[in-house]
Amino acid sequence: MPLRLLRFGLTRQHPEPRMFTQHDELKSSYDVVIIGAGGHGLAAAYYLARDHGITNVAVLEKGYIGGGNTGRNTTIIRSNYLTPEGVQFYDESVRLWQDLSQDFDLNLFYSTRGHFTLAHTDAAMRTMRWRAEVNKHYGVQSEAVDAKSVQDAVPMMDISCGGHAPVVGALYHAPGAVARHDAVAWGYGRGADRRGIEIHQKTEVLSIETTDSGSGPAISGVMTNRGRISTKKVLCAVAGSTPRMLSMVGLTSPLYIHPLQAMVSEPVKPWLDPIIVSGSLHVYVSQTARGELVMGASLDPYELHATRSTLDFTESLSMHMLEMFPFLGDVKVVRQWAGMADMTPDFAPIMGKTPIKGFYLDSGWGTWGFKATPVCGKTMSHTVATDENHTLITGFGLDRFRRYALTGEKGAASVGH
C-alpha cells in the first residue's frame, strides 16, 4: 500500500487536495463570463489567465466539468485538413497539444500513433493526394501511401475489406495522436482554477441580458439559476446548446444539431497501433492504452437534441468493423453513447465576434472539436481579451454566411466526405 494512502487512512487529517475549488456563491459581477466548462471553455479560461492576466472570470457549467462532448469524443488529434485555413489552424493545435502535459503537470497520455485515412477508390485516392499536397505546402507531415504500406502498419487488417471495398491506398499523417479527453478538461480547469478563475458547476444560464450601447446591442449580464451576474463579455462554448444560447440574444445561425455516436469494445491485447479511418466504410477506430477499441461512425441521420443511443448504429458500425477486421467477431461491445454535434453547412466552425458587442462564439465544432481544444482556447482568449478576432480564426466568422463566403472544409469530419 502506498505510504500516502496509509497515512491518509490512519490520520484523517490530510484530506486529498481537490482538483478544483468549490465556490459557494457567485459574485455579482465578472470581467468575463464563459458559458460551458468543457475543454474549449476551460482552455479559453486558462489562456485568459495565463496569457492575458484576466482572472476575474466565471466559467458556468449546467452539468459537470467535461461532461459534454469533451468526454464523448473518440480522442483523435490530427491536422491533415483540406483548406489552408483548416490546415494552419489545426497544425497550431497539434503543436500546442504536444507539450500540454508539461504545461499542466498532468499526464494526458498523449500518444502519437500515426493516422491512416483509407481510400477504397481512385477518386478517394485523388482527394488524398490533394490533401497531402495542401498539408505539405503548410509544413504538415502528410503523404499519400499505397495499400502495402497500410498492410505493413496494420498486419491484422483484411486489406480487401471482405472483397467489398479493397483498400487502394491511404493518406498517412504521422503526427496523428490520441489523448485522454477528461484529463484535458481537468488540466485546463485546474490551471485556470489555480490562477484565480472561478468554475461553477451545476449553474445553468437562464437568460443573457443585452442593452443598447448606441452602436447596437451589447452584453450587460447573465441570469443563472443561482442569481444574476453583471458582465460586459460572454464567451459561449456550449456545442449542442449553442442554438438555444443564440436565441437568448436574438441571433440566428446555420447551426443544426445531430447526435454523433461512438462505442468501445472490451479490452484486448495491443494489436492496433495507428488510428484507422475509412470514409467509405464509415468507421474510425483506435486502440486505447487499456486495450479497448474506440470506434465511431458518421452522424445520426436526423436532427435531435438528445444523447440517446441506437442499436442501428452498433449494428452497422460492427458490420463495417468486421469487414476490415474479421478476427474481432467474438469481441464484445461494452459501452456506447452519443454527443450532440453542432454542425455547420460548410463543415468549418463558427468562431469569434458577433453582431452583439461583447458576445463571443466558439461553436460549430460538430464532430471535430476535441482536437482543436488548445488552439480554440488560445484564439478565443485573445479575441475576448482584445475584442479583435485572432488572425487564425478570421475565416470562421458568423458573418461569412451573410456574405456567401463559406470556408468549405471537407476534411473536417474524417468520415464525412
Partner: protein, 88 residues
C-alpha cells in the same frame, strides 16, 4: 423512435425514411435582398422543440411532413404536404 408512419404506406421502420430538413417558406427570390436570401438559405431554427420537417419514404418515394419533438425523439404526427396546412 424506431417506427415512423408514412401517410400512404402506414407504419414502417425508420431506416426506410430519409430526413430532408425543416419546412421553410421560400421568399420570392426576385423581391428579397441578398441578406434575406442568405437568411433563408443558411439559417435554421436551431433550438430544441417540436419541429415540422420534410421526410421521404424512400422505398415508395412519398414525400410528407412530420411533426417531431427533437428533445424526446418522438414523432407527433405525419401528413401529406398541403400549402394551407404548411402556412398555419
Amino acid at each position: 423512435m424506431k417506427i415512423m408512419t408514412c401517410p400512404i404506406n402506414g407504419p414502417r421502420l425508420i431506416s426506410e425514411f430519409a430526413y430532408a430538413g425543416e419546412l421553410k417558406e421560400m421568399p420570392d427570390p426576385t423581391q428579397v435582398s441578398d441578406e434575406q436570401w442568405a437568411d433563408y438559405v443558411f439559417n435554421k431554427n436551431g433550438p430544441a422543440g417540436i419541429k415540422r420537417e420534410w421526410w421521404c419514404h424512400t422505398a415508395s418515394g412519398v414525400w410528407f411532413i412530420a411533426e417531431r419533438d427533437t428533445t424526446r425523439d418522438v414523432i407527433m404526427r405525419t401528413y401529406l404536404y398541403q400549402a394551407e396546412v404548411a402556412l398555419t
